[in-house]
Symmetry: C2
Subunit: 245 residues, 2 copies
């Protein structure tokens, strides 16, 4: 059909998440998450980023590469509604869509000039799995994209889901200092499936080459263990907040 | 390549613009523009729209179907910068991009139940050509998508471009009452190419089956003629503001 459109990845994003569990449910919720957008060789051209410095935020169009299903379903069950209520797919941001493209608003941190990967775009607040394909980057235009009058539908009450995080000093020591704030902020988003209320159950969040184990009781996520894994060579560069533009 | 992604139109939008000239340069600038999103038969399912009523705004992912070029260029020349300055394609919303997908934030007006086309999504503020392919509809989530702290880069000063519109009562009578506000609002956006300053030149904006002719002098668009055309059978339904939700 004439209007079918073939998308090619322009880049891949590198993040601290190698598994879906624990990824915040929208972009921007956890600003401490830093991602590196690494361009594919044929799109690695510094000119394509000219004047990007003038923008504070960017849109990433990405592929729900791990959520492709062969058939589309007209309804989905958003986790924030308890996983039982069905809503229309076009009234949701579910990954299970006829065209599995996602949209994330991220904060632009700057451009990192590298020998090996060319110019890399650094972003904060990305809710993306490591190695997610990126199909487009667009500047966030406040006059067109920011709509303070917009109202939010069924997801409006989501801030109620935040929980407290309890971690001992000894366990905190097991986490590299520059990753601590991100770990705590991701746990505070309550990564459990919404229909779970099993206070004794141990959950495991894979983050930055660590396995963060925790349970949730009375609205508090208590970290029980931090296990280091051996895949730390893929981690994104950590950007100190003070160095941000 | 594994992460190439084939998009299929889920719908086509019907608007009053059959030509590019006169279309506002971003979505939402002219709220009076009403568009009808008509689903393709295989995606015509009322369940897919369930709970959409709870949202005030939607994202449309669309194809820049008339702007496809075989090669991508790393830089573009935004019209609002005078058409001379080059900026990186990923620092612009230009249609000429490696993956020609556009992003428009529109106001959700409601769902029209029809015999012939099924459930049709009515939107306001669409900056789209008639029959633009739509690849996805997503709800606008204020808590993730609205970033009042965002700053705007080179396009920040765009409000300066608005001009006054002068139209005689006699010419206004030639425009159907429900289209008048949209015509005036589109002209006020100054549709001229930014590098034009030719006060005697007559421009022509094709809108809702009419040819609106005007010239621009001293910051005022003066309508000189309204010519009715014979292609009015494709017009979108006009929605009275009072009926909006």
């Amino acid at each position: 059909m004439a209007d079918n459109l073939q998308l090619t990845p322009i880049a891949y994003i590198r993040t601290d998440f190698t598994e879906k569990f624990g990824i915040p449910r929208q972009s921007g919720l956890v600003d401490e998450l830093v991602g590196r957008v690494v361009f594919e060789p044929q799109f690695r051209n510094p000119d394509a980023l000219r004047e990007m410095e003038g923008f504070s935020h960017l849109w990433l169009l990405f592929g729900f590469s791990k959520s492709v299903r062969s058939e589309w379903s007209p309804t989905v069950r958003p986790p924030r509604l308890g996983g039982n209520k069905r809503v229309g797919v076009f009234a949701s941001r579910s990954p299970f869509r006829p065209n599995p493209v996602g949209l994330s608003c991220v904060r632009f941190l700057g451009i990192e000039h590298t020998e090996r990967e060319g110019d890399v775009v650094l972003v904060a607040g990305a809710d993306l799995l490591d190695m997610t394909p990126i199909y487009d980057i667009k500047p966030y235009l406040p006059y067109a994209d920011c709509r303070p009058e917009a109202t939010g539908g069924f997801a409006a009450g989501r801030q109620d889901y935040r929980i407290e995080v309890d971690i001992s000093d000894a366990l905190l020591e097991c986490i590299p200092p520059e990753k601590r704030a991100a770990v705590i902020a991701c746990l505070a988003e309550d990564p459990r499936p919404a229909y779970h209320d099993q206070p004794e159950r141990i959950y495991s969040m894979n983050f930055a080459g660590m396995d963060i184990r925790f349970r949730v009781k009375n609205g508090v996520a208590m970290v029980t263990e931090v296990v280091s894994k051996k895949n730390a060579d893929h981690l994104p560069t950590t950007v100190d907040k003070k160095d941000k533009k």
